[in-house]
Subunit: 388 residues, 2 copies
């Protein structure tokens, strides 16, 4: 599959140029155009991604558990593929290759449904992947791209529980909502991240400033970047002085509650606004940060449970008891003590590969690697046992 | 909770008598009346079930995995409750108590929705459980029964993904279909079992007769009982002679394909009919068995994949290579070599307790015990790490 991608670079880049030309004549913004655009290095990177996944250990067939019952039957819990996995995504054509290879590696067939803006690129990439899979002796049709991109297709696919065992939607609210409301089969959402850092009264304030700055500014457009900082009342003035100095350098717009606003305004912080109600539940995906002063760790936990999206949340403190209270009370996929939320990532977890980050609770929560693309079955070996 | 159930036996039995009186004046059959009916021993059995679950180890907080990354962050994968679990079920009031205690044991709140025929019994049982939970210091409302039983309520509950994290429907096709088509949250179906035994040409025929007889007749009304036997052509005459003799004693009606029909008819088997097409995909839940002669293990596998429900399927053979082919090719929750399918059961697996048997592939497959009523989260402990 990697070889075929490289061998067909020219066709893929021509198809991509066609997509880009149409996108430029449409209303796609610069960031979207950048995400859509391929070049020889990006095609090479897709092929490199495939080779890296191919080199990982095969999770299928792993013996997860085994035991023998008093009647002598031996029970084996064995890792197996899920079946047919539907991936619904938007924009970036490299997802076509990444998602397909992860599904194939785990023994699944895959039905891909990308966005209309990338359809020519996706078709060319899928043709290359299919050709590679055929050459490797995989069944025909183990990788398929839905060749049409009408919205209606998402609903139709979501109703095909007879043929599709799992749908993974990756994209904006409208896409996720369309899938969730129509789907008859299991769905593992890759939805929004409203991630929050709480700076406790016992925090190392320099560490807190580092973590907040990293989690907000290192890559603001991703789901594990933070949108809100909560700070304990007693350390708010000192913390906001240090934070304001750092975030001003990075051109971050702050949307602060009244207490924080007064403090930052006194400092002369320039890009400053009063926080509106909707700011606490908005995924800015940009250099914008909401700020609120709270009375206690319990208030912080209550805020996170109410406004957060249960993705990745962090406490900065030196106090172990407070940290443990936070780690156990906050019901999020990943909860941090003194580290940046940006580590919620299959690569950073050491999974070797990642299909995405589940914002659902069942089957897979947080970063989804190869194991999360499998299920299990029970194999039972006996010598004639019957139930009495 | 167990103590309160016993203390309130009288109220529970009075409510149950009321349900039974209404059921008798309606159109409920004898089997349904039997399932609906409570007596002091059955209330005591429910309380015993609660005490047994209470004595099991607590799965919540279990450290599933932990590792340290090169940058020093320590990642802990910890078992946690799912949240709010909705259980939708029919008929037997003891499910109210069984399901509630399993959810509470695993730290979940539960929203129960039983059938209209048992509503007074269910309300009385739930009041007792709630009172017990309160006395044990559990939060108010950790156990709730939907007090109305209109069909519309199933759809409304299935749309409440803001409040309910998982729905487990246990019941007939219409109920499951209503949940699956409406649900916005994950669903783990407890649906039908079309379980199949394949008797290979290398089978020990006496063992095969024992297994088939047990799997069909020991308790025909449950999902892990078999509905179809496939037998290899070369051993069909000898096997059917032995099987016919045993099943005639048990009054089993056989629905046979032409080859098997000729053989059984020559033997003078009385309760014999020609199999109709729909017999291969019918869950009889009764002393009825479909019989088909096949050419090979591959034909058996193809039949199972086409007509079975991927619940529990079995091969009887002495040949290890054939057995392994079957065990790996049949994509069912539980696949057996030389043992009765009746072992697909939380108790028989040694799980200590069971909420039911999942016929879905994700999160939980096959018998669902306490672990399957939990999920996990990642707790990450660092000392100021940020992502570069």
């Amino acid at each position: 599959m990697a070889n075929e991608l490289v061998a067909r670079s020219e066709e893929i880049l021509a198809a991509n140029a066609d997509d880009l030309a149409r996108a430029r004549s449409g209303d796609l913004g610069g960031a979207m155009l950048e995400r859509l655009s391929l070049n020889p290095a990006r095609v090479e990177a897709m092929a490199g991604g495939i080779r890296a996944v191919a080199a990982l250990p095969d999770p299928v067939g792993e013996m997860i558990e085994q035991w023998t019952r008093p009647n002598g039957i031996r029970i084996f819990k064995v890792r197996v593929p899920i079946g047919v996995i539907g991936i619904i995504y938007e924009s970036r054509p490299n997802v076509t290759s990444d998602a397909a290879v992860l599904c194939i590696k785990t023994g699944n067939a895959t039905l891909l449904r990308g966005g209309s803006e990338a359809i020519r690129s996706n078709l060319a990439i899928t043709e290359a992947l299919e050709a590679g899979a055929r050459k490797a002796g995989l069944p025909n049709d183990s990788i398929q791209l839905v060749p049409r991109t009408e919205r209606e297709g998402v609903r139709l696919m979501a109703e095909m529980d007879r043929f599709v065992d799992l749908i993974i939607p990756r994209g904006g609210k409208a896409l996720i909502e369309a899938v969730v409301s129509a789907a008859r089969m299991p769905v593992i959402k890759h939805a929004d991240g409203i991630c929050i850092v709480y700076v406790d009264k016992e925090a190392d304030l320099d560490m807190a400033v580092n973590i907040v700055t990293n989690a907000k500014t290192q890559r603001p457009g991703v789901c594990n970047a933070i949108e809100t900082v909560l700070v304990a009342h007693s350390v708010a003035p000192a913390f906001l002085r240090k934070l304001g100095a750092r975030l001003a350098e990075k051109n971050v717009e702050l949307r602060a509650d009244d207490t924080a606003f007064a403090e930052l305004s006194a400092q002369g912080y320039e890009r400053l606004r009063h926080a509106a109600d909707e700011d606490w539940s908005t995924e800015f995906l940009d250099l914008i940060l909401a700020l609120r002063v709270v009375d206690s760790v319990d208030d912080a936990i209550a805020h996170i449970e109410r406004f957060g999206s249960h993705h990745s949340d962090c406490i900065v403190t030196r106090d172990e008891a407070t940290a443990e209270r936070f780690l156990h009370q906050v019901d999020s996929a990943t909860v941090y003590w003194n580290a940046s939320t940006r580590f919620t990532d299959g690569g950073e977890f050491g999974f070797g590969a990642e299909i995405g980050i589940s914002t659902d609770k069942l089957h897979a929560r947080g970063p989804m690697g190869l194991e999360e693309l499998t299920t299990y079955k029970y194999i039972i070996r006996g010598d004639g046992q019957v139930r009495s």
